[in-house]
């Protein structure tokens, strides 16, 4: 941070400065390709950005234009975004699994003139809707496999664009630098579309100032050293990656690492051993269940040592939480446990050098936070929203698992009478694109209204739920379904769950999705046979397993919020069927609507319910499934 000068007020200006400072002596990025890590120095990155920018100019890019980028985390995504920002433009990130109609909405709504797409699959999506996008000038792709024979009037390879750029640069020297110097910190840098749990996605505009602010506040609670390793894994369509990867990568600066493919990340992360990791809450959850399942699968001796080490570690954590002095014996035992069990474990999952792991996006259960700390991973809750950027975080010596940390200095947080979290800070966004009404609704008196319900507990902020999701039960008490859901999801056998209650529902009930892989393995160990997901989900043994899990969670809930009945659903919630958002959050209304019959059955206290449901198969075909599912009641 010391090296940040006053006039370096945009990300591209900082990038230029890094190139001057480090040139070809320091690595800026590593991308695994052909099975080896390919390196890019700061000078390489700067030149790519410059060439792409010139290329865009030669194809008619104008100051303030927007580009849409759809792809995995690749250096090319970063270059394209920085190139657009160098020219005073902004970037819109799109998740790779979006369907053409969603992609069309983002391109159209953001008025993007160029689209950067990863590969043939993504280019095909855009060419399918190309005719309906009059403002779109060109599609640029960076993985040319399978695209050799495509119509170049619509789509060109990034290599071609860079060649065009180089020619353009010869004719217009210094034009790029001119654009660069014209950039201001209040220029819009990115559009982040809100995940759209309600209504159409809104394009939140964030300026360079917003992003630089967010990296600045992170450094209040964590000292990053220049050139630490960072794994770019969560999609830059999400603001958090924009902050840490695209902005922090240049500002701190970090060495950005890109996995070969999303599927190879488990191997790649071991190569890198990143210092800083940013996973969504769901990714931490799946990492935890992978660890648990792998351990249950190993030899009795290993299981014994693992459990013993875990007990020691938990004991130490407990003492620390209570503020007790840690005895010498415990300290020695813990060191031993760490050496024998946890170090190798951390090595297996690529956490040998890790200083901090952030989790954000959805609440994570305290039990799981405790588990990660027990195995020596410094995981912290980072709270923020697309519109208000980063709000609070745990300090290193002050981690309380049930909270979302302490608000950053310079970030004013207050709780409204309704119980809503309101925020005022340098991170609060500029507004929604082309939507002043919605902007006015959430930005009042300089405060951003998060619609998150929360409270302060001894200086820490506690997140309860979305204000609109807090449910008033029939006896007038308020409860948060999400609070229960994350605790249920902590079980490796529960993939998803939605909890119901409130109006017209005399008690609390739940729809559960079993985790097919983990429950399948569990069943195999018991020599149970099963055919499909449907079959497995309704097995008596599986339902009993779930019953035990629900009972355990119930025991920590107040009487009125306990689950009285649940159903093990015959299918998984699916983003392609609009039951989940792309970040795997529940879309509550569509789910409730869709499983109306089941819910009615539960509240009519039926033993079982016949269901007929449309399912989309992996290959895209759609079929009907008829089956009978059993309602499980708890005393």
């Amino acid at each position: 941070m010391e090296s940040r000068k006053q006039d370096l007020d945009t990300i591209p200006k900082l990038l230029h400065n890094r190139a001057l400072e480090y040139g070809r002596h320091q690595i800026a990025m590593r991308k695994k390709d052909y099975g080896i890590w390919n390196e890019y120095t700061w000078q390489d990155v700067y030149e790519h950005v410059k060439n792409i920018a010139y290329g865009l100019l030669s194809l008619g890019f104008e100051k303030g234009d927007k580009i849409t980028i759809i792809g995995d985390n690749d250096p090319e995504w970063f270059w394209a975004e920085w190139a657009a920002q160098s020219l005073g433009g902004a970037a819109v990130g799109v998740y790779i699994d979006c369907i053409p109609s969603e992609v069309k909405y983002y391109i159209e709504h953001s008025d993007s003139t160029f689209v950067f797409a990863r590969d043939q699959e993504q280019v095909d999506k855009i060419l399918e809707i190309h005719g309906q996008l009059p403002k779109l000038k060109k599609v640029i792709y960076w993985d040319p496999r399978g695209l050799w024979f495509y119509d170049t009037s619509k789509a060109v390879a990034m290599k071609v664009l860079e060649d065009l750029g180089q020619k353009h640069a010869e004719d217009h020297p210094d034009l790029f630098e001119k654009f660069l110097s014209q950039g201001k910190e209040d220029d819009i840098a990115v559009f982040c579309y809100t995940s759209g749990t309600t209504g159409l996605p809104k394009g939140a505009m964030l300026s360079h100032r917003n992003l630089l602010y967010a990296v600045g506040v992170l450094e209040q609670y964590n000292r990053f050293l220049p050139m630490e390793n960072y794994l770019s894994y969560i999609s830059p369509a999400w603001l958090t990656e924009q902050i840490l990867g695209l902005c922090g990568g240049v500002l701190i600066p970090l060495v950005l690492h890109f996995p070969e493919k999303p599927e190879t990340v488990q191997v790649d992360i071991r190569d890198i051993a990143p210092h800083i990791i940013f996973y969504g809450a769901r990714l931490w959850e799946s990492l935890a269940s992978t660890i648990q399942v792998k351990i249950t699968d190993s030899t009795p001796l290993k299981i014994f040592f693992h459990n013993l080490a875990l007990r020691i570690s938990h004991k130490k954590l407990e003492a620390k939480e209570k503020g007790e002095k840690i005895g010498l014996l415990l300290e020695i035992l813990h060191r031993l446990a760490d050496f024998i069990v946890f170090r190798p474990l951390r090595d297996r999952i690529g956490f040998t050098k890790n200083k901090v792991g952030y989790t954000a996006g959805a609440a994570i259960s305290p039990d799981m936070m405790r588990l990660f700390h027990a195995i020596g991973i410094n995981i912290k809750n980072l709270y923020g929203t697309t519109e208000a950027s980063l709000i609070s975080l745990h300090r290193d010596d002050d981690i309380r698992y049930e909270t979302i940390g302490v608000p950053f200095e310079g970030c004013e947080v207050k709780i409204s009478e309704e119980g809503e979290i309101l925020v005022k800070s340098g991170g609060v966004f500029v507004g929604y694109y082309k939507n002043p009404e919605e902007t006015a609704k959430v930005l009042k008196d300089g405060y951003y209204h998060t619609r998150d319900a929360g409270l302060f507990d001894r200086g820490h902020l506690v997140y309860l739920d979305r204000v609109d999701e807090m449910i008033e039960l029939s006896d007038g008490k308020k409860f948060s379904p999400q609070y229960t859901e994350i605790r249920l999801r902590f079980s490796p056998y529960v993939r998803d769950v939605m909890v119901f209650g409130g109006e017209g529902k005399p008690f609390v009930s739940a729809l559960l999705n079993i985790d097919y892989d983990n429950v399948g393995k569990w069943a195999e160990r018991r020599k149970m046979t099963y055919t499909t997901y449907i079959d497995l989900s309704q097995k008596k043994e599986v339902r009993d397993l779930l019953k035990g899990i629900v009972e355990k969670v119930n025991s920590v809930l107040p009487e009125y919020a306990r689950i009285k009945a649940f159903v093990s659903l015959h299918k998984e919630f699916d983003a392609d069927e609009a039951e989940l958002t792309r970040t795997r959050k529940l879309k509550r209304k569509p789910i409730e609507e869709r499983y109306k019959e089941i819910l009615t059955g539960i509240y009519e206290k039926k033993e079982s319910i016949k269901v007929e449901s449309q399912v989309a198969y992996r290959d895209g075909r759609v079929g009907m499934v008829r089956t009978e599912i059993i309602v499980n009641y708890l005393n």
Binding site: Y34, G35, Y617, D619
Partner: protein
Amino acid sequence: MSGEIRLEIKNLTLGFGNLVALSDVNLQLRRGEILGVIGPNGAGKTCLLNCISGFYKPQKGQILYQNKDLLKIPAHTISQLGISRTFQNVELYTGLSSLDNLLAARHIHIQYGLLSALFHFGPSMREEVKHRRAIEDIVKLLEIEDIRDHVVGSLPYGLRKRVELGRALVQEPEILLLDEPMAGMNVEEKEDMARFIIDINELKGTSVMLIEHDMGVVMDITHRIAVLDFGNKIAEGTPEEIKENPVVINAYLGKA
């Protein structure tokens, strides 16, 4: 397809004792085409492939490739000439990683001798890098990056078949013989495999002889089809012609 004939099978007859597996079969494979070979079980499809790759020695006939009769040369030289194959039942080194399986198949292109291999630098090192690069191209093409270092024995069937296709491809064949590459696969895996075969054919101009039972796939991706029945070739033509051919319908596709 009017490409030049690359592989010509003439009057091929193969018998085991009194059992006639192939009788007087004539067939040509042209440059850059995908030729489907179909027929009921026991029609002699795999025998045909085994004759080409030198596993079986037929009693009569010729298989001409590059002005040589493949029946007259040792089996191990056939792959060096540019003909590679996959097997109906996957035949990989199950104890080796995917990568090592591919590297092993690359031996036919390795130039350096034993002595320079002993001192692993200079020319032999450069060659190793070159071969690894060629293999990684195939790894990328077949999208098996994530199983690169997995032991083949631990892989599911669909992926093993993919590795096996990879092994045939790293030999950079001019002619690729595929024996039921999609058997036992689900729809998604079949689609992937079909895409790979088309890619290989279009990108590298490889001629493909494809034995497959899934008629949907065969009709979709082949340029020409030959039909075998009890060792006799009963028809040959484009997929459209074959679909209409009464003899084929009778023998194989089933009466409508």
